[in-house]
Symmetry: C2
Subunit: 398 residues, 2 copies
């Protein structure tokens, strides 16, 4: 039995490098609270992005939270309806009011027309997401936010190593955020960063991550969202290995694109022109007449030892999220997006195993669409058949 | 020149123990996301507290936040006005409305009469703090919260190792929270824990720390507040050394109490009867006619290489916090509380150096009270003289 192919294997630096980094932290006596390793990691990340300043923090989620806190976003913040829960949760944690609008069908990023339609006098920011590494429609969103004079924030959680028009994607937007979680290309075990691009928020973030204290007292947006010296030290070691991981991922991506071309019921989600390489993830969109929905595909792959993740469905659906307009695309893609295993040490044989599994699933499912499988018990059968309005899997809140 | 005496020196396990713990985590390939080290640390902490379950998280602040989130505290939460900012900030982060009331003059914990007076139909919980390790008035607060049928939450951030009526202080209250920050007696570099005592909230906390996802979708209170496997592994090693630290701190405390007895313008804040030992901190309250205020004392000690921390003043003052009644005691103690250096490896000579420094400060300041020092420039002089209403230092919001 072959080993499982996991979704992501983090960059794991050589043991002696980890040992030296950890020993240096413990020997210094400073293991957290904004010490030298945090500041060094901040300088290295900002330097590579070519931006004036950034502040690291405990996670990609708290990066969004602190960005919103630094900008004092207590009004409505327009976010994409098809997004990881962290996005709207972080707006809430900062005291803002997330309002979700639809995404574009091709790139699954914020639909500028939907943003326009959702603007109210209480709109205080637009928070776009570079979904699975694909740039949001930066030009259109910039035009809108300039016109109504609110900040444009981009969550680029997955976007380390991706360029757009010749410079890092993370350098776009008034403020951008990054995740440094272990499953991201470069990581600090757990961590995140806030990039001050157009607006110099890094010092505000440094204050807010440490209870917002200062000579004038403690700010209401404060919390503890520091990155420890230990995590920062690992972050430095990993960062030094991230360029090699980018090279490996570009190769893995090529294998995937060749293999997946043979399967006509899915497509790899594309980047925009002038963006790339997509070293963030390997997201696929299932066709309306695909033999399986995303959840089932994930289960079928798992049964074959392949870990994939279905998005915008089930576990990730917001319990309560105010909508700023109709969200037909978000409904349309519900249970149709899957991220396949994607990391640099995958071999050509691994990718062949994934594509073979996808073909097997297709063959086994050929013919009339199956009855709802067990995990859908209790839902009306109609909700999983190709339904009215041309929506493949038009279920619930996404 | 002697080395500085720092405020707290964290337990720093022997290098080989750290090396083995870190190597085990990296060798396992699982460096975060609720792995075996997190679960092991949870079992060890719960076992030592004799409670059914607890969940660890990213920090003591997020412990309060997740506790409030798990209890769905979206109404008014009564908190002490004299508290570290994390307390009211965490209530806000969870979507609740902190309402601050006064503390008792002897123990500086929530005044039950002030709590009673602040109850409204929107009151959804009382959040007491075991300030500097001293139990809140548990009996009185329990009676109040039982009567109005709301949960009683205790922040015991500093309370590892302290018993009350023969069992761990952290086992009191419907829910209690702990900090595992490096400056606490036992620590995981950064970290916290939520104890489900009367209410079994640990599984809710496990869900909320991981975006609140579940079969029914993602909860609005979710976030990323996980503890990494790396931090948890350090936490296990440190925990194994914490009993020895408790023994050392008890000895240090005895030296302090002997030395400080000779200084009549301060008193060590006492614990309640049946509580102890106070291995959390060495907090002193300055007398109304003390030669210095807390901020100045901190500066004077720092000039002598001794790091102490003034509380309830300056940097820690809430910018915006709704009061649920008058707070004369909180005003009275503003700029009168200082935590002296307190950790197990302090020597008798270190403590003698601190007490000698305090006596020097007294001698130098003897005579008519000095004019406001530089850091108070711009404030009316009257605000630092022993003022009307018997308030020593009646300044601003605390």
């Amino acid at each position: 039995m072959a080993d499982d192919i996991v979704l992501v294997r983090p960059i794991m630096p050589a043991a002696d490098k980890v040992r030296r980094a950890v020993a240096r932290v413990f020997d210094s006596g400073v293991i957290t609270n904004d010490g030298p390793r945090v500041r060094a990691l901040e300088r290295q990340l900002a330097g590579r992005l070519g931006i004036p300043d950034l502040a690291v923090c405990a996670s990609g989620t708290t990066a969004i939270q602190l960005a919103c806190g630094a900008l004092r976003l207590t009004g409505e913040v327009i976010v994409p309806a098809a997004a990881f829960p962290a996005v709207w949760q972080a707006v809430l944690r900062a005291g803002g009011k997330p309002v979700a609008v639809d995404v574009e069908p091709k790139h699954l990023t914020l639909d500028p027309k939907a943003v326009e339609a959702a603007i109210t006098p209480d709109t205080c920011a637009v928070l776009g997401v570079h979904t699975f590494g694909c740039p949001a429609d930066i030009d259109a969103l910039t035009a809108i936010t300039r016109r109504i004079d609110v900040p444009l924030v981009f969550d680029g959680a997955t976007c380390w190593g991706i360029d757009y028009h010749g410079r890092p994607l993370l350098s776009y937007g008034d403020v951008a955020t990054l995740s440094l979680h272990a499953m991201k290309l470069t990581h600090s075990v757990e961590g995140g960063a806030v990039m001050g691009n157009g607006m110099l928020v890094a010092n505000w973030v440094r204050r807010l991550r440490n209870f917002g204290t200062g000579v004038d007292g403690a700010l209401a947006q404060g919390t503890n969202a520091r990155m420890s010296e230990l995590h920062a030290a690992i972050g430095e070691v990993v960062l030094a290995e991230s360029d090699a991981e980018i090279t490996r991922r570009i190769r893995v991506r090529r294998w995937y694109e060749e293999g997946l071309r043979q399967i006509n019921w899915l497509r790899v989600l594309p980047l925009r022109a002038e963006a790339g390489p997509n070293v963030a993830a390997m997201p696929i969109l299932l066709a309306l007449d695909a033999p399986v929905d995303a959840t089932t595909l994930g289960q079928e792959l798992h049964a074959r030892g392949i870990h994939a993740r279905a998005y915008f469905t089930g576990h990730y659906r917001p319990h309560t999220l105010r909508l700023g307009g109709p969200t037909p695309v978000t409904h349309d893609i519900a249970d149709r997006v899957v991220c396949l295993p994607f990391w640099g040490r995958l071999t050509e044989a691994d990718i062949a195993r994934v594509t073979t599994a996808l073909k097997e699933i297709d063959a086994r499912r050929k013919g009339p669409r199956h009855a709802p499988s067990v995990h859908l018990a209790g839902r009306p059968a109609a909700s999983v058949s190709p339904g009215a309005a041309g929506l493949g899997v038009p279920r619930g809140r996404a």
